[in-house]
Symmetry: C2
Subunit: 703 residues, 2 copies
């Protein structure tokens, strides 16, 4: 509650300011671009509103949302996906609990589906071509939800059609790929029907993980352009990023039949798994197995590329004071099958959060300082398509105005602990939120204190803190952070890693990812869902309502130090090639100094009665810092990746990705001068970005 | 005078606001990031201050500045160039008339100079190699200023060394190039010593135009990176953009000897000039001339590439209310020789303007709302190097905060009329300024009314108005508009085209561009200098002090309409290749609608008492509109060019440059499908940019 400070600070104008606050609070102006009068411009986060929101987020409503969202398969662009578009629109337009406005945006995007007429097929054939064994075309209908026309058969999206035949063609160039999930990796070794779903959370033997095998993200035919019907499209024959050969995923039940009968040498120990046999490398079947030694595996893939209309749904709460600053909160809507966990646990939380905020809004109790944009993205499973097209369509506007992007995709992987991935500036707001909320269960711990038990690190600044992970490209935050340079995060509840080594929850992307799976095994009582809703809701409210944006730019310093420390391992070889780390060391020091001084200026301002424009100026520096790390020239080969700190790192040294990759390349290519020149180029790019970042944080009239 | 409105609007707070204005006006806070209290945040441009500035800009002081600046040659990075750096620093740090702060930034850049030991040479030789004729190595010392070690001999910067010999090698591949300026093009035909300088403003026979022949701009070795000593540099052997063959410029006196003795067929009528003979095409000399028919021209070029330290000087006036918004005003400092006209007429104005503003500042009479950044760029003549490196070093900061860039390079080409180049949004502020100031001379007209007599167009919106030209890459505005998307302009006084057809003022880039040349022929009395100082000063003050930025985004609509109109000529052929102009028409209409509605919202706000944050929000839209036209993917071959409306147009149709160029390419390459695909891609890029621009102008909570 910062009202007291405001009123105390300008005693002579108390009546005027008091009036201003009341106006800002209860009589929200209706004009689209009309923030409240300036008096309310000094209002800070209202802790009472925050408590109200946290209290009202209801576990049972989340459960009911999930039941509705996951009751039928809703693969991208199918009728049920479109029905959910309408459901979201209806919720966000509800007169009692809706937002200020909601709309859809539609893109025409290239998806990939199995043929309806010719099922993909994996079979063992003998030398005359007779079929000796066929893999399942669909998963076993264990709960009554695995059958019917809306359950898409297992397939590898964007894998090209073809009919390769071989057993192990590695020596002659691989002709096709079969993919399966081993019980050792997904089920902690369990593989029997009675120890798997519906008897436990484990993957049943017939379960098959669907997925997209497109290398990039976004619509494959319209890179860097929004996929409007009229947009320029690559010819799909020369679009890049598709797998070159047919791929088909199968269940471990079928994989066992193939793999346990392979001949040849024993595979390395690391490659052995939980199918109850030795895994051999081939080629050919073993002599004492169930197949003739010259039997072959025949794979028929009949996937088809199709242009489809995919919708995003956007819902907006207009900011009262700074409507041109956006806090975005999103999740995808599309699933592979029922998608109860992925993505509906996230969407169920999204709908409950938007309901609670919408209700406060419609009652006139609250309106955020900044605008809040809720988003339901389409076609994420095919490659983050809806979100990427959105960032392409509104590139300038988002770069200019977006404060942060909060992604809650799968909100609950398991019940043990919070798990957050994000860029360093979001650590502080997540910690503040997590400290305020009780963890589910009887521990009596806060979410923060529970979290630190599972994932922690020793910070040179703060001591022991929960560890925030980095953002890859696993969900819709990718275009926001990598393409637009918007501070982003992904929030979920997840595993106790001492209890399971499952790569991900076992029914991921299968037809067994259903409501009952969540309700019985993943989060009975939905208390973890509620914990995520509360945490993400608190983060959202803090970002939208705090006077000063709760982003701590100084928290980038630890990342830079660790990257710099790792770069020290390269020093000797770099110097042998005439490359100095000196400018990088200086740049990191300059960033640290500028960030520290910047935080001190904020602290000083907080002690006084800061002017709205002073606050805005500081907030612009906070908002735009992440943008300063973008360089569209840095990685010409990497579509969309332009953040010089978070681009994919393929080199083994955990330093700045461009440096790490170029160094690795130079070492591996026999030390060619051009390769070392690229190392120097990447170093200069990072130095320029860090110097630019420091310049952005310095007092604004210091050029 | 907007004070009355402010005081009238909030009667109850009149005392407080009145105090605030006084505080904002006289007691400037010293803290670097401390704007004045919010009350003064509503203050608009003070017309009295504006009048004071205009009155105090003194023609004689500009003349004295010019005398000092041009008294010695100051080629980039030479001691005199560095001495002028100190002069600028001293002026901007003057306790009575200086700015808040001034500093230099230094870059290590690749320049090109003639050899000190081996002069470049052009000679006619006979078949035994004996020299029959030599061109001058330097210009004739007509005024005592064309001699001495600091006058760089005529050369073509970045032309490689070499010794080609031929007369006309066109048929076998050109081996070298001689460049001269024909009296017909530069002197309205005059070529005799007694009708040229120092007897008139015309180019003397020995005058040679120096220049840079680098294809791009910026430091050639560090594209997209600031040229810090530690920065990655291309090897100059594989840097691109240098001429492939030797080039040497010569005077028309020498050109006459060579050209009037050429043999072969008569050159086309368009190629004939003012040297008093028929121009033939060669090859070889003519039979009845002064050279043997088998004589050859031998060219020896000994230019050398050198890494040199070049300085920019930056001077800052901190904004009182919005210090994080920058209005930039700059000119280059380096010349080829004395550079009285180019660039010192501009720098003389710059120094007078900064003196007048600095004096008001130091007296406490005035401080701008926004920060003003004065810049003196280095090494412009070699390819806009200082300004480009500046935009690379402060890329993010400038993109986020720069309101506009005002360039005044050559401020006076001639005495007839104002001439302005810029992007459409700057038209309105230039018109406002030009209407307020009297034109030099006895006409009694305003600068605006005088201007419209010389350069005008019929606007569908305004009727007859002066025509504002477009920005190419002829001076330091290029990186600001093309690379950063900052609204930019170039302001000068120029010719009466009914009186001269000279391509540019005749002594351009020669050793005859001296103080006396300006004082006697170009602007005796310096009234045109004063007119430019007043106009540019008024524009600067309006941009820095107006409550609402005086940029009219709606003025882009006329440009878009004219581009669209021109695109109609392509429609038939486009449609034959399946390309529709429909989405472009729609996008232009959407932009127009959004811009009109945006202007109406500003008009409505002006009628009330707008909140400082409302004003800031509108101003951010105004400032950032230009940025929405950037697309770093649009022109992969064009270094720095990313503005989809102002990139270089090589196609003949005066429409969107990407569309025009791709269309022309598709027509010229035999209608290949890939070429038409590029047309469609360019069309989609423009459509996406216009839709993005419209989205940026719409009410900020309409996503």
């Amino acid at each position: 509650m910062q009202w007291v400070k405001v009123l105390g600070g300008v005693v002579g104008a108390a009546a005027l300011l008091g009036l201003g606050i009341i106006v800002g609070h209860f009589a929200i102006p209706k004009g689209a671009d009309s923030p409240a009068p300036s008096a309310s411009a000094s209002q800070d986060l209202d802790l009472k509103i925050l408590e109200t929101v946290i209290e009202q987020l209801d576990a049972n409503r989340i459960r009911e949302n999930l039941r509705e969202l996951s009751k039928e398969p809703h693969l991208a662009t199918t009728p049920r996906d479109e029905a959910l578009v309408q459901l979201l629109l209806q919720r966000w337009q509800d007169p009692e609990s809706g937002l200020d406005s909601a709309r859809t945006t539609e893109y025409e995007v290239l998806l990939s589906f199995p043929s309806g007429e010719q099922p993909n097929r994996v079979a063992v054939v003998n030398s005359t071509g007779a079929i000796l064994f066929s893999c399942r075309h669909s998963e076993e209908n264990l709960t009554g939800e695995q059958g019917g026309p809306n359950v898409v058969p297992p397939y590898a999206a964007y894998a090209p059609p073809g009919t390769p035949q071989a057993v192990n063609a590695a020596k002659y160039g691989v002709a096709g790929v079969l993919v399966y999930t081993d019980p050792k990796d997904i089920n902690d070794g369990k593989s029997l029907p009675n120890e798997t779903f519906p008897h436990s959370w484990c993957l049943p033997p017939s379960g098959v993980e669907r997925g997209s095998y497109f290398e990039y993200f976004g619509d494959p035919l319209t890179p860097y352009l929004p996929a409007m019907p009229s947009s320029f499209r690559l010819n799909s024959d020369n679009a890049s990023g598709f797998p070159p050969i047919p791929i088909q995923p199968i269940g471990f039940e079928d994989a066992q039949v193939l793999l346990c009968n392979l001949g040849g040498n024993l595979a390395p120990a690391d490659w052995q798994g939980g199918l109850g046999c030795d895994y051999n490398l081939g080629p050919g079947f073993r002599s004492n197995g169930i197949f003739p030694e010259d039997g072959q595996v025949n794979v028929s893939v009949h996937n088809r590329l199709e242009l489809r209309n995919s919708s995003n749904v956007l819902g907006i709460i207009r900011g009262a004071v700074e409507p041109d600053r956006y806090v975005l909160y999103g999740n995808h809507r599309d699933s592979w099958v029922h998608g109860a966990v992925d993505p509906s646990t996230g969407t169920a939380v999204l709908l409950e959060l938007s309901r609670v905020l919408g209700t406060l809004l419609k009652k006139g109790t609250w309106r955020p300082r900044r605008s809040i944009v809720f988003a339901s993205w389409g076609a994420e499973e095919f490659g983050l398509i809806g979100s990427t097209e959105f960032t392409e369509e509104f590139f300038s506007k988002l770069q200019e105005r977006a404060v942060a992007y909060i992604n809650v995709d799968i909100s609950v992987f398991a019940n043990a602990t919070l798990r957050v991935q994000g860029t360093p500036p979001i650590q502080s707001v997540v910690f503040s939120a997590a400290k305020q909320i009780s963890a589910p269960g009887s521990s009596g711990l806060s979410i923060y204190d529970n979290w630190i038990r599972y994932y922690n690190r020793s910070s040179s600044v703060y001591g022991l803190v929960p560890s925030v992970g980095t953002l890859g490209a696993g969900s819709d935050y990718a275009p926001f952070i990598h393409f637009l340079g918007i501070s982003s995060m992904d929030i979920a509840y997840t595993y106790d890693r001492s209890k399971t080594s499952a790569r991900i929850y076992p029914t991921y992307h299968t037809a067994f990812d259903t409501f009952d799976y969540v309700d019985k095994f993943l989060d009975p009582g939905f208390s973890s869902h509620q914990a995520v809703a509360r945490t993400a809701g608190s983060v959202l409210l803090r970002l939208s309502d705090s006077l000063f944006l709760p982003l701590n730019v100084s928290d980038y310093s630890e990342t830079l130090r660790s990257f710099l420390q790792a770069a020290e391992d390269l020093r000797v070889l770099l110097e042998q090639h005439g490359i100095s780390l000196g400018p990088l060391v200086t740049a990191v020091e300059r960033f640290e100094g500028a960030a520290t001084a910047f935080n001190q200026r904020i602290a000083t301002l907080r002690e006084g009665t800061p002017d709205p424009l002073q606050v805005r100026m500081i907030n612009d520096q906070l908002m735009l810092l992440e943008r300063t790390f973008l360089n569209s020239q840095a990685f010409p080969e990497e579509r969309y990746y332009s953040h010089v700190l978070w681009a994919p790192r393929t080199g083994s040294v955990a330093t700045f990705p461009g440096l790490s990759n170029a160094y690795s390349q130079a070492k591996n290519t026999g030390h060619e001068p051009a390769a070392w020149a690229e190392v120097q180029r990447q170093l200069s790019i990072v130095v320029a970005a860090l110097e630019g970042a420091a310049a952005t944080l310095r007092p604004v009239a210091d050029l």
